[in-house]
Symmetry: C2
């Protein structure tokens, strides 16, 4: 079904989901860190993460109170591997730097520090 094939593109059509992928490529993050990074409601972030997980872009792992999300190192779909290994080609290479407990990121020419 071609409808099924569009899902990968749908997952990549939202700027916040692209930001999440980018951020996760620098560091494993939990929902609350991503919430701070993107300034979105918890439930909204959760929804984006479930879409990315559903498609195989990311993995989740429980760590006590937190649930850590990370880039899937071995996606079964070669298209996902391809996108993940060439993400800068598709969406550019603006910095998303996450240092220590602080998250410093440059999104759309705006520096956000949380």
């Amino acid at each position: 079904m071609l409808e099924e094939k569009t899902k990968i593109f749908k997952a990549l059509s939202d700027p916040n989901r692209l930001r999440i992928l980018k951020a996760l490529q620098t560091k494993v993050l939990c929902v609350c860190e991503i919430r701070e990074l993107l300034q979105l409601a918890n439930s909204t972030v959760s929804q984006h993460l479930s879409i990315l997980k559903e498609e195989g872009f990311i993995l989740e792992e429980k760590a006590g109170k937190w649930i850590n999300y990370s880039i899937n190192p071995r996606p079964s779909d070669p298209r996902i591997s391809s996108i993940l290994s060439t993400l800068d080609f598709w969406i550019g290479d603006e910095n998303v730097i996450i240092a220590d407990k602080k998250i410093i990121c440059c999104l759309d020419r705006k520096l956000i520090c949380c």
Copy 2:
């Protein structure tokens, strides 16, 4: 702007637009041929074509009464070139055969002949 970068994925998130790209890779087509192929209203096809053209996937050329659409052979955006040259990788390789004046195509396991 990351919002801008999502446009290429948005353009590819619709199954009918993917069918159009696939069909155009086999043959130059006018709107009315694509309409028959996809069984959509003229205005709907026109809208899809304008999105694909806007993003640089396809070109249009007037030919008398008709407007022919074709795959852009030299897109300025390398991402477009990449998608176009590896389309089967992204969406599979079901046949879309266009012979003579008849269009015979196999979409989602259904043979359509117009």
